[in-house]
Subunit: 408 residues, 2 copies
């Protein structure tokens, strides 16, 4: 176990955030994950980072705040917080986010509170989020178990066993065996993802047409000069990093106004500390015109109403049904894992997945059809019978996904 | 135990920081103290505070930083940190500091690193520290056990027993019995301290002459119009608060250039994560001209050299040898407790303990003889045979302390 933990910490620091000698590393972590966060800090000092700065979080106090703080708090972002993230990003620090949360931490909270906080944060920290989505600095999100989350994933186990089972599931998902070769396995994996994105880029599809037995029947137009991305990004200072660990996806941005039809979610979505399940969205010329959810509909409605851009799509991502996380048959209640078990979409902000996009302003990207928003929420739509047909600019129809898996 | 914890959290929030309806509370706490910090946050929401903002710390990562970070880090203070403390202070937030640290957390660290960090912090956050020492906002320091600290206090006990013993010692020191009457006991106690300070103010001493069998032979001149303070302060918004819990002291500021002789420490001093023990300081016209320590002399030398003012006294505090903490015979290795078991002095910054001082600038205070520095370090000098003679402006000699206790 100790070997695996250390291998995982090194992987996040050396492949994920890829911390360089003399570079500052910001680690965001729940206090409950302190032993592992400390190990990551140690791994960063091992590669001669300049300094590790901690940004501790706590589910308990987050819930207390959303339940009990003065209502005005949720429309404000203190200047120190803006400076914290923006200044370190401007200084080319690397950011490691250890994400672990009770999926229902905010159950019972007025959903307008996290939605307003998300809007306020997006507005106040627009520079930081723009730099993040343009990969200007290195960042990486990874997860480790906490009790409340593990009990959601494995509800029939004791707390201790659930935590152990979740550790094992995570180690499998991130290719950690304890043999010290995780870094090598990741380089191979990133190579495979890179091949996939190249194939998709060569097709230069005009549309993707989704359908499956859940009832999904959706056409997504892709912008001219869109680019499929996968695996590693390169930061402003020329360093490779992997923003999500695990990552199994190949993704691009849709045309903001080119989405029509209906899509059904294939997995529950954890958002703003609530579970949203069995939901669908209907699109007309890109805009979400209807949402339905059997569970958490109020949270979903608040999420797509955060701002104008929240009701348009910002990401199209392809993940084969036959992928390691999907094959584990574990529902993680954590988008970092669940989105890598399934084709997914996101409403809100688009990554600048267009030729020259990293150098474009938000306004230029918008003119090229890429969505602008203060939010970005992934949701899972892939199934074992998902069909995706790519339509080229000259009208050819290419099967991209057949029975849930890549066909190209 | 649960009753005592809750009574303690309420005491710190309602008497210590005295959090008001609609006021923001900043809690600084080690992550190891999270359960108690959460309880304090709950107590603050119980009195309808606006929001609780956490400033988490971690001994482990602090040590990692001082051992392994780039050397330049210790001369810098990031802007976000300055904004964090200064902005909340300007907004009249209350500050609760839960202080708990391994007394030897920085053993083996180059002492110039914490000394430089202290100087840089003092410079960058001058406004915040000025507001704090002028009681412009409400603040309170309290402590709870952590393992590493408890093992220092009770080295012959198991870790678990040491923590229990330290809890009991702290509860005794802060008058917590679990009967729910701690707030009442504290009001009585603060009344008694107030009587003492009034008596001392009536004498309006020109000098205090210290002597005891350790070899202390020290004359301290007090500034004209000096004021003895004790117990509760009143913040800019007119709210009573108690900056230290426990507090047994009556204190004022010495004349910066009016200290002559030698003083011997009566208890070890924990400073910058190191223990300094069996030490003496020699003064000539206020300035520390010699320091000796059997243990930690390098740390002490670095501390009095932080800036010009660090080598002058900034505080004179009287605590009877026969006080509850002293009578417990426990050496706490934590200045918050040890200074309230013993007469003490501090080198560095003076509190503005002079008539009209809270409205004076640092330069004006300096002209009135009060010391200016970016540091303020208390050290203990009281013994069972301490004699302190007060000399009035008309030359009368009044025994203030006889055999370690108040004689006035």
């Amino acid at each position: 176990m100790e070997n695996k933990l250390y291998e995982y910490a090194r992987l996040l620091v050396e492949i994920g955030a890829n911390v360089q000698k003399g570079q500052t590393l910001i680690i965001s972590s729940p206090i409950e994950c302190a032993p592992f966060a400390r190990m990551c800090a140690g791994a960063a000092y091992d590669v001669d980072c300049r300094e590790v700065v901690m940004n501790w979080t706590d589910d308990f106090l987050t819930r207390e705040k959303y339940m009990r703080a003065d209502d005005a708090v949720f429309d404000e972002v203190p200047e120190w917080k803006v400076r914290f993230f923006t200044d370190y990003a401007n200084q080319n620090a690397a950011f490691l986010h250890i994400y672990a949360s009770d999926p229902e931490n905010l159950k019972g909270v007025d959903p307008s509170r996290p939605a307003r906080a998300s809007m306020a944060g997006g507005n106040a920290m627009k520079d930081y989020y723009r730099m993040q989505s343009a990969s200007e600095f290195a960042w990486c999100i990874g997860s480790i178990p906490i009790k409340a989350w593990a009990k959601n994933v494995f509800p029939h186990m004791s707390c201790e066993k659930a935590v152990d089972a979740l550790w094992n599931a995570i180690f499998d998902a991130v290719r950690i065996t304890g043999d010290g070769n995780a870094v090598k396995r990741w380089r191979e994996h990133l190579g495979k993802l890179s091949e996939r994105k190249q194939k998709l880029n060569e097709f230069n599809f005009k549309y993707l047409k989704y359908s499956n037995s859940l009832g999904t029947d959706l056409t997504i137009e892709l912008p001219e000069n869109h680019v499929w991305e996968a695996g590693a990004d390169i930061s402003r200072i020329g360093v490779d990093f992997v923003a999500n660990m695990p990552t199994e996806e190949v993704f691009t941005a849709p045309r903001r106004d080119g989405v029509n039809g209906i899509v059904f979610a294939s997995r529950p979505l954890v958002h703003d500390g609530n579970i949203i399940d069995k939901f669908s969205m209907t699109f007309k010329d890109g805009r979400i015109t209807e949402v339905h959810a059997e569970k958490g509909e109020d949270v979903l409605r608040a999420a797509v109403a955060v701002d104008e851009g929240a009701s348009y799509l910002g990401e199209v991502a392809l993940v084969p049904y036959d992928s390691p996380i999907s094959n584990s048959k574990i529902l993680f209640y954590n988008t970092l894992f669940d989105e890598n078990a399934s084709c997914h979409l996101a409403f809100g902000e688009a990554y600048p997945c267009i030729k020259g996009g990293a150098q474009m302003s938000r306004e230029e990207l918008l003119r090229h059809g890429l969505n602008d928003s203060n939010t970005h929420v992934d949701f899972m739509v892939g199934t074992s019978d998902m069909s995706i047909i790519g339509v080229t600019h000259d009208g050819r129809e290419i099967p991209v996904f057949v029975n849930g898996n890549f066909a190209v």
